[in-house]
Symmetry: C2
Subunit: 550 residues, 2 copies
């Protein structure tokens, strides 16, 4: 893309912008584009198919220029990766407001989106790409780890030792799968059609070995399974071809899922298309390509359904592959569930979700100090402690050092206020940003993923993420975003994000306390409203106000 150049966030305590409240979004924008984080930095693509941090390089330059001079009572407005205004607000207001990829319902489809994208009028923001809080594959690792832990708890006595998981996709998100499986003690075979992605995951310690063939992969997997030892195996090839092949071989697979970029058919390689021709072909004939990709996904999903018929634990891992397969005519596409209703919703009822933070100093010691703070704040939480230890051991930081863990209502605010205190008293060398994925308890409407199968049938109601965004703006977040189409693709989701900056000031402490109470509070009230008992218990126990019940 015109204007491409390598980008890395500044480290240390020297400010480029006028305050930490604006330095933080500046560094996090740059950090999203750090080659250690971004999948295709030259095209401003961070992860998840074509999830971008800025519309184009001219927009990137204007974002940087504006953030550098923004005052503490001004707010920059960003429309799909392009800064479109600066307005005078006040000190409690966010410094940046972002809306990415949003379309009116009847026009919310990939064709219209691409038409507008080609006109230069929009970009795809995914979830944390366009909202500047992507923290590398690590960001997804803990969620993936928790999901496989939930699978282990549900079906395999609390561990994946002695099981084989078959999946595909080693991209920005999917790359977390092999490590999450081995952290749970299991064996993973991960199919990926891009040799560079396999190499990269091995280099970063997320993947152990590469197999030469289906047979080789199975031999390696069965050896480790027999010894109940963890092992992750990459396998080069097309999932739509190889998953049916594993099935035909009667492979002893226990768990099947997938994280190819199925949400965007142009990002899924169809059977019969050479890897090297992929992007040129998709660009030239998007409709034909889409048809072929969907047909391949139908084959892929059909094999997954049959694995379930044979007794395997099978789930959609949030990439909408079932929806695409159904479009291609596979009637049984939705026979297996999404991962949220299967494993995650009980956590959402407690306001839990992927809480994350990053050290603006660039110093890994700052993250070590926050790790310690979290362990001290929640001594009774054993799985949290196990996660933090594993992460310290296994996670390679990408870009600015960062950490993620799932915390709930009444916990996030305590962690945030404590981090701010550590900045104030100098135990941390610089401020930290505190945010989360848009895949959170109260911030997303996505009927094929986060809100699939809600108890009251309210899957498609999108008032909640919009209220979440507004209440974050009203509570003092430093930047807030509303996106469309993240995870599952255009037309299928609306979601919001927020990031706070712990700069050690009193004002920041007050803001953090409110934002990190109200934002997970949206998860509690959303699930109370839908009729979940667990959410009602949490609301009652932790004093969440529910006007209809008063």
């Amino acid at each position: 893309m015109d204007g491409a150049r390598p980008v890395t966030a500044p480290r240390g305590t020297t400010l480029t912008a006028r305050s930490w409240q604006t330095e933080a979004p500046l560094r996090m924008l740059m950090n999203n584009l750090d080659p250690e984080n971004a999948e295709r930095p030259d095209d401003l693509v961070v992860y998840g198919g074509t999830g971008r941090a800025a519309r184009n390089w001219a927009s990137y330059d204007a974002l940087v220029r504006t953030l550098t001079t923004l005052e503490s009572d001004e707010t920059m407005l960003v429309q799909s990766g392009k800064p479109v205004g600066v307005m005078r607000t006040h000190e409690w207001a966010p410094r940046v407001l972002i809306a990415n990829s949003n379309l009116v319902g009847d026009w919310a489809n990939w064709d219209e989106f691409r038409r507008l994208e080609n006109l230069g009028l929009t970009m795809y923001g995914q979830m944390t790409a366009g909202s500047w809080i992507y923290i590398g594959t690590q960001g997804i690792l803990q969620g993936t780890y928790e999901t496989f832990a939930a699978v282990a708890a549900k079906r395999f006595g609390g561990t994946l030792a002695g099981t084989i998981t078959l999946t595909a996709g080693l991209g920005g998100m999917g790359g977390a799968q092999p490590l999450a499986v081995t952290m749970n003690g299991g064996v993973a075979i991960v199919i990926e059609c891009d040799p560079a992605r396999i190499r990269r995951r091995i280099e970063h310690g997320y993947l152990d070995v590469q197999a030469d063939s289906v047979q080789h992969a199975l031999t390696l997997a069965e050896q480790s399974k027999a010894k109940r030892e963890p092992l992750s195996i990459g396998l080069l090839g097309n999932a739509a071809q190889l998953v049916p092949q594993f099935l035909a071989n009667d492979a002893p697979i226990d768990i099947v899922t997938d994280q190819t970029s199925a949400h965007d058919p142009l990002s899924y390689l169809p059977v019969g298309v050479e890897f090297d021709e992929w992007h040129e072909y998709a660009r030239r004939k998007p409709e034909e390509f889409t048809g072929r990709a969907q047909a391949s996904m139908a084959r892929h999903v059909e094999a997954m359904v049959k694995f379930q018929d044979k007794g395997a634990e099978v789930f959609d891992y949030g990439n909408s592959i079932r929806g695409e397969a159904r479009t291609a005519g596979l009637s049984r596409a939705f026979d297996f569930p999404g991962f949220v209703p299967a494993y995650i919703r009980p956590l959402f009822c407690e306001g839990k979700g992927p809480f994350r933070w990053a050290a603006l100093s660039g110093d890994p010691k700052d993250i070590a100090r926050t790790d310690k703070a979290v362990l001290e704040l929640f001594p009774e939480n054993e799985s949290l402690a196990r996660w933090i230890e594993l992460a310290q051991d296994k996670v390679h930081f990408q870009g600015l050092p960062a950490r993620i863990c799932w915390l709930g209502y009444g916990e996030r605010d305590r962690a945030g206020v404590e981090f701010n205190r550590l900045v104030a008293n100098g135990e941390l060398s610089a401020p930290v940003v505190i945010g989360r994925d848009h895949l959170d308890c109260g911030s997303v409407a996505s009927p094929y993923r986060e809100t699939e199968g809600m108890l009251d049938g309210s899957d498609a109601i999108a008032d909640w993420p919009l209220l979440d965004a507004m209440v974050n703006v009203a509570s003092g977040a430093t930047w807030v975003s509303i996106h469309h189409g993240g995870g599952v693709g255009i037309g299928r989701s609306i979601h919001a994000g927020q990031v706070c900056v712990a700069d050690g000031t009193d004002l920041a402490s007050q803001k953090i306390e409110r934002v990190l109470t109200n934002d997970p509070g949206m998860g509690v009230i959303r699930h109370v409203d839908a009729g979940y008992d667990r959410a009602e218990d949490v609301a009652a126990a932790r004093d969440v106000r529910i006007p209809m019940a008063e």
Copy 2:
């Protein structure tokens, strides 16, 4: 509906709530349901088909209960007419945040909406119904007056004297049409199938007479036309039947439009269905009814197209009737334009739109004082002066006294700050609320109406209303709303609203200054971004910051 009762807002200066910042939304919610304003108050329907102020009466009670006790650093969250949470925020934050009728794109259709509505999970908020800033038919009168003035300027030498306008619909919005035409000196024939609506508009002084037949209407119209005298004529019947009849009679019609509730096919009476059977039939067989309504709309629109062929000025008045007619197979449905690209967009480029305010005292003298203030602030604006005088003469207040006029960027903030000053120094007997329609310059994405035919093709991009909502939250509005489907129906629009309370305090003055700068500012930057020269001139002349141009 269960729990129905008559509702009127309290008048005077005794507070029911804890401050004017919460008293104001309380009174305005009640004012929306005042029988003088609401079309079907027992069902909580305010206007525009089924645009509601609250989900049901239990929700209404909870809204009132919560507003009555809400503190000045708390915020109530409203999800489609039902209060779902109260959260601690701060003094600059809105007291109420509202999201109505929002659905994820692929589910944004009437079928899914009705399924969810029947489950009690959502409501249709229209624009100002669910956001509590409807001020009766007057609210639309000025916009309608301006539109017909623009028609007069474009085609008829600046006046409608000597012209006949043919239209339909005398509902909450459509009821403004006859008066807006006569205010411009013209003759209007308005078809309406509900005899009560015709009676009501005559009682309120919006309509002059009722004709007995097409022939009678034409005779009356031609007499006045010949004398170049204004006259408005109601005609009972079905527009899908009578508009073609006027055409067949070769009636000398100069202007044709329509304001039946076509955006919601269940609110359009099909030919052959008795008026008394309408709602029961629509409830029992919504799909069959929809098909019949759309077929009738095709007949109706076909006659409009033919009037255009014969040289009449024809436009869609924002009810999406062209879209429904096209669904029914009429290929020429979009042969005539929407009113926005035809007449309104140049105003939007200046940040102009339907600015409005209401006197919480209930005292008409307060509005008279604000009228005077507006005339003094903008002495050079002649059409504004003409409008205020006509309004003082012709407009009957409905519910709390209110006024509307179109002001632009750099004007609204001055008016708002001045009103607040008048509250502070006691020239107004109580605070006023200052808001607007969602049909405004920068607050809506609606490809069949407000954003039809944008210069750059960005009609469907919905980032703008979401940014508008967020920047209003960030600027100090007292309540802010994000709605879906207003005006043109589910799947076809996303839009935002804001209301400020001028309570005479210094804090209110600061908030008002920011909100009433930034909110119309969204209109300017949205149209700059789309490439309108007029908007670029306004931005340059009035110092609106455009980061890409710096």
